[in-house]
Symmetry: C2
Subunit: 128 residues, 2 copies
């Protein structure tokens, strides 16, 4: 269970990728695509609250990073599909457990019940 010191030097590609992935909409888009290929309009609905500009920007970033694949079919009306690349799928595999944990624990955390969980392992903590 030793994590052996994960370091993120500040001027490092890892910081950039971290920023892309943890950008406001990045995680949500990636998770939405975990279900499979989706069209633009489906994504807009799946990622509740995202604006057109932000969806476009997020998708472009993820595509440039090689995490998402854009498949535009030259028909009228336009038909564009987005899906995870193999690399993106790997990433989402690591993202999903995190998302499920957050969904499962969010209510307790926000309601403040989390402080009740500071049990045996805690003693004099945060006397503050």
């Amino acid at each position: 269970m030793e994590v052996s010191t994960i370091r993120f030097p500040s001027a490092c590609p890892s910081r950039i990728v971290l920023d892309h992935v943890t950008s406001k909409w990045g995680v949500l888009v990636l998770v939405a695509l975990a279900e499979g290929t989706k069209r633009w309009s489906e994504l807009r609905r799946a990622v509740e609250g995202v604006s057109e500009k932000m969806l476009a920007q997020t998708l472009q970033t993820l595509e440039r990073d090689g995490l998402v694949i854009r498949d535009a079919r030259p028909v009228i009306p336009p038909h564009v599909d987005y899906r995870l690349s193999p690399l993106g799928a790997e990433l989402v595999d690591r993202l999903t457990p995190l998302m499920e944990w957050i969904l499962a624990n969010a209510d307790a955390i926000i309601s403040g019940a989390a402080r009740g969980r500071i049990d045996e392992t805690t003693s004099v903590a945060h006397a503050q």
Copy 2:
């Protein structure tokens, strides 16, 4: 491997927690604390590039969420320790695989080599 539709409704506690965790410094602080208890000054060094204001703010948010425990000892000079709560440790368990993956793949992603990995599963993709 079916993820069975993870949904994040926009007006939901899960979005708030997600924002806290994926805040610019949230992930980095949590990962830094994965190694164990750390003092303020150690965190400042461990989380390279963080300002005092942002470190304080991030720690306060994480503490309010019950993910981090603050242990202030009333001595002079002041001595304050931060560590993960049991809940925070659970979260970090899900965070660590993600961070390690990002560290391992960041260079390839940023350099653009990622697009080379679009192999057999891809065919006509992103004619762009």
